[in-house]
Amino acid sequence: MTTNSKSKADVLQGTLALMVLKTLDVLGPLHGYGIARRIEQISGDLLAVNQGTLYPVLLKLEQEGAISSEWGASENNRRARFYQLTREGRKQLQAETQDWQQTAAIIARFFQLKKEDWS
């Protein structure tokens, strides 16, 4: 049971990380809840993930140096951790966007294949 959920989380983490980076790239510094809400909004609630899974991803990105974080005040006027894209993160986002588009293009071409294409 553990292994199953883990592998699913791993798949999600890759795309989730990319979404986080893009969100921060577009909207600037945000706290965890903010990021979660934006991703939800943009994906049109299609992505019904547990919001909690976001935090391990944030930590991983921070350890890689793609994002940095600091304490700030939230809308509630309480302490919240604000995340921000670093230069490294921007580069990473560019590279991964390219990768992603390439992959997507390839997959898309495969899905367009018809039987006669093989003959």
Binding site: G52, Y55, K60, A80
Partner: protein
């Protein structure tokens, strides 16, 4: 780069996890709060809003787990958690922990120090680069397969073989009179003659100066050059580099110092580090055999030959080549090489040669010490098993809240690993102590002027063994308890604090532990007692002559190439002038020092008119050559006939004095005086028995009465003699005057083995054997201690485990004697089993020791009469105490346990 950065972040994360955890908690709280307020704004009630926020966030704990996994190394963190937990739980029972650590320390320390012994004797490689390619070339005959070669043979081996990158030769280490300045009195040092290519082929680069050149080993007597050994250089010359080019005096000849061997090469022998090396070509200065020509005689075999085998050549090829060469030599020189072949041995084969007892001794000791370690480990395993059992409930709780079995085993194993590590560290200390103890006996063991040494040391190899032993013992004593502990049934474990499911297998394992302990320590104690008894009988029997008030000093004028007349003259004068010294009662010359077992020769003879058995042409017995004052000086009574006289000169009829034992043996009931014996064979020279001396000990204080013949020195001149001086006062006070006498006779002649005979006797007969006895007895006592503690622990555990059962038995009418019998009986059955096995092992050890040490060849009943009841009494006591405690269990209390 990225992964590296993450690695550091993770390591850092592991270290700072407290503040991280705090931060996460805060972030989550804020996240939930923000979501909740959004939900309220969307029109939910506060309670519902909060609930939805939590649902949306998902499992906080599982997320935290993911977060932690992301943050640091889970394994590392678990490990540090395990370690902290283990330390805490060990700290809760400091007595037990200390006992376990001590137990393991004893086992590991003793085993590792014995390993250092075996390592030095067998495994330690030659201290030269690429040592595995160095092999030994040896001659083989019908009797021995480890013969040395003569100089001529060495040249043949060097020049006519193709399997090697260089063939080198060295003499055994010999006593050399050394003085740093020409006028100083020489002292005895150990020198080694080596071939000119010795350092080059072995790959030894001198730290200072140079090694020998091949041409320095070509012309006999031309190049008087010397290379100093590193230790000798440090001690004798205070590491002074200006020693190069200086002249030192060896056996009265000046030698120029050309180099100093490096510290990494103290010498190639196990027990001796040469003080200096000289070329073989200088052999005339060092050989002591006046009747042989070192450079010419093919049967003057004094050289050990080693070679570097070429990488492409197999051992078998080298052997074949050498066998062919040996055949050629046999054809060419039939009179000296008949029946001789040659072969190649690796270092390991050389060191485990069957005719050498040292390494066998090492093997016996390592078996014994492993037995001690086995007892220690089984003991610790038993204790940990008991502990694991008392923790059944804790483990069941852990299992119930989801701990994996592997995780649990790891937790329990961590404990034993920590114990074993602590034990290993303390074991290193024990090992150091044992080795230091060995070293303190250097003078007793060797009693030599030469630089012989105890090669046992605590080096990185021994430390590694310590670690390996610690790791093995961690597994040995931790795995079984961990496996059993983690197998605890959850439901039963939670139900009651003290479960024992009827499992025959488990009990079998426990009982086997006790049986193993009892039998092993019985075996050890038997061995110790056998050695002790053998030793005791040696000391008690005495030697047959007084050992006090005698000073001894040996001389070897061959070192200075004296001829026979010079030698005779020197001994006449030295003996005469020493006798004239005040405080000297008498002085005598003798070929051998009494009880110096390795120096005695055997005499071959045939009693005149004796009917020889058909299968032999002569008898042998012990012999010594002494002058006419020997019997008076040593106070050995001549019981009948006469003493040697100064009239027994070389041209007078040959005479001998035999001991009573000899006389009784060959002429029972007849008067031995006037009887004659042939030397060597029935056609040999006739000598007449003129006196009968009392039988004493001759070669060894433990020997059985033996046949012995004294020959007069005047009729059998011998160059290497010992002056035995009987003094009126402390013999050591006479050392300076005797030295002065010798100096006035020849300033270049060194005095050897100058010590009181009492000291020599104590070292040889009392202290030396005492070491081995102490060693084995120590091991036996440790074994006994471990057994008692182990059995006691097991019994206590059994009682605790059966508290409830005993309570029920007593509640339904058993009295305390019944309980005592029940518990004690169980313990005694185990002791009995262990004793039977131990007796069998003890007999085996006795056989082994008989064949190797004492040659007694009989069962020593007294040993078993002492050891068995002692062990029985002690183990019974260990079993009785817990049993008594069991019999005092109050049923009301025991049943309230539930």
């Amino acid at each position: 780069m990225k992964s590296l950065r993450r690695f550091f972040a993770r390591v850092f994360g592991s270290a700072t996890h407290r503040s991280q955890e705090e931060r996460l908690r805060e972030e989550i709280a804020e996240h939930i709060a923000l979501q909740t307020s959004d939900n309220i704004r969307a029109g939910m009630s506060p309670v519902e809003a909060r609930r939805q926020a939590h649902i949306k966030f998902g499992g906080i704990e599982s997320m935290k787990e993911d977060f932690r996994a992301e943050r640091g190394f889970v394994l590392l963190e678990d490990l540090s958690q395990d370690v902290r937990f283990a330390l805490r739980s060990l700290g809760r029972t400091p007595g037990l922990t200390l006992f376990v650590v001590l137990t393991l320390a004893l086992g590991i320390g003793i085993t590792s120090s014995v390993f250092s012994m075996l390592d030095a004797l067998v495994f330690r490689p030659y201290p030269v680069p690429n040592s595995s390619s160095v092999v030994s070339l040896v001659g083989t005959t019908h009797d021995s397969s480890f013969e040395d070669f003569s100089y001529r043979e060495y040249l043949d081996l060097r020049d006519k073989t193709t399997s090697y990158d260089g063939v080198v030769a060295n003499s055994t280490m010999e006593a050399v009179g050394f003085s740093a300045e020409p006028q100083a009195t020489p002292r005895i040092k150990g020198g080694m003659m080596v071939s000119g290519n010795y350092f080059h082929v072995l790959g030894v680069e001198p730290t200072l100066g140079r090694g020998f050149r091949p041409e320095e080993d070509q012309v006999p007597g031309r190049d008087a050059v010397v290379v100093l050994g590193p230790e000798f250089w440090h001690h004798e010359f205070a590491s002074d580099p200006s020693v190069l080019g200086r002249a030192i005096r060896l056996n009265g000849t000046n030698f120029t110092v050309i180099g100093v061997a490096p510290d990494t090469f103290p010498g190639i022998l196990i027990f001796a580090h040469p003080d200096f090396y000289v070329p073989l070509a200088m052999a005339r200065v060092f050989t002591t055999n006046a009747h042989k020509n070192f450079f010419e005689d093919r049967d003057d075999r004094e050289l050990a030959v080693r070679a570097r085998i070429k990488p492409a050549v197999s051992l078998q090829q080298a052997r074949n080549e050498l066998a062919v060469l040996a055949k050629d030599l046999e054809r060419q020189y039939p009179q000296v090489n008949r029946g001789r072949s040659a072969t190649v041995h690796t270092q390991f084969e050389m060191r485990t040669r069957p005719d050498d007892g040292n390494w066998k001794f090492g093997v016996v000791f390592i078996i014994l010490s492993l037995a001690v370690l086995l007892v220690a480990c089984t003991n610790v395993a038993g204790l940990l098993l008991s502990r694991a059992r008392t923790r059944t409930r804790e483990i069941a709780v852990r299992l119930a809240i989801g701990a994996g079995r592997l995780r649990l085993i790891r937790l329990l194993l961590t404990e034993s690993v920590i114990l074993a590590l602590l034990g290993g560290i303390a074991g290193i200390a024990v090992g150091y102590a044992v080795i230091a103890w060995f070293h303190s006996y250097r003078d007793v063991i060797f009693m030599s002027d030469l630089p012989v040494l105890i090669p046992f040391r605590m080096d990185h190899r021994v430390l590694l063994i310590c670690l390996v032993l610690a790791a093995v013992s961690a597994i040995a004593c931790g795995l079984v308890p961990a496996l059993q502990g983690s197998r605890a049934a959850v439901v039963n474990g939670l139900k009651s604090a003290d479960v024992d499911l009827p499992g025959r297998k488990r009990l079998w394992g426990r009982n086997a532990l006790v049986v193993a302990q009892v039998s092993t320590s019985l075996m050890l104690l038997t061995a110790a007692f056998l050695m002790y008894r053998g030793f005791k009988s040696l000391v008690l029997n005495g030697t047959g002559f007084p050992t006090d008030h005698v000073l001894m000093a040996s001389f070897d004028p061959r070192l200075l190439q004296y001829n026979d007349a010079q030698t005779r003259n020197f001994y006449k004068l030295v003996s005469q002038r020493v006798r004239e010294t005040s405080g000297v009662e008498n002085a005598a010359l003798s070929q051998n020092i009494p009880l110096n077992d390795e120096s005695f020769d055997a005499l071959s003879f045939v009693p005149d008119g004796f009917q020889m058995p058909p299968d032999r042409d002569h008898f042998t017995c012990g012999t010594d050559t002494v002058d006419e004052r020997y019997f008076d000086t040593m106070r050995i009574p001549v019981l009948s006939g006469r003493n040697f006289l100064s009239s027994d000169s070389a041209d007078a009829p040959l005479v001998a004095i035999v001991n009573e034992q000899f006389a009784r043996h060959y002429w029972p009931g007849a008067d031995p005086l006037g009887k004659r014996i042939h030397l060597d064979s029935s056609t040999g020279t006739l000598i007449e028995v003129v006196g009968i001396a009392k039988t004493t000990n001759y070669m060894d204080s433990g020997e059985k009465p033996m046949d012995f013949v004294y020959l007069p020195l005047s009729q059998h001149p011998i160059p290497h003699l010992t002056l035995m001086i009987r003094t009126t006062n402390d013999p050591l006070q006479l050392v300076p005057p005797v030295k002065e006498v010798v100096r006035t006779l020849d300033a270049n002649l060194p005095m050897m083995q100058t010590m009181s005979y009492e000291e020599f006797y104590l070292n040889k007969a009392v202290r030396g054997p005492g070491i081995a006895v102490k060693l084995v007895a120590g091991m036996g006592l440790i074994g006994l201690f471990l057994t008692v503690a182990g059995l006691y622990g097991v019994m206590v555990y059994n009682v605790t485990r059966r508290t409830r059962e005993i309570g029920i038995r007593m509640a339904i009418g058993a009295c305390s004697t019944d309980v005592l019998r029940l518990v004690l009986g169980k313990g005694l059955v185990l002791v009995g089993f262990g004793m039977v096995i131990g007796l069998v092992m003890g007999f085996a050890v006795e056989r082994l020791m008989d064949s190797m040490l004492f040659n007694a060849g009989r069962v020593d009943a007294v040993v078993y009469l002492v050891v068995v009841p002692t062990l029985f009494a002690v183990t019974t006591l260990a079993a009785y105490l817990p049993a008594r405690r069991a019999s005092r269990i109050a049923p009301t209390q025991a049943l309230r346990y539930e």
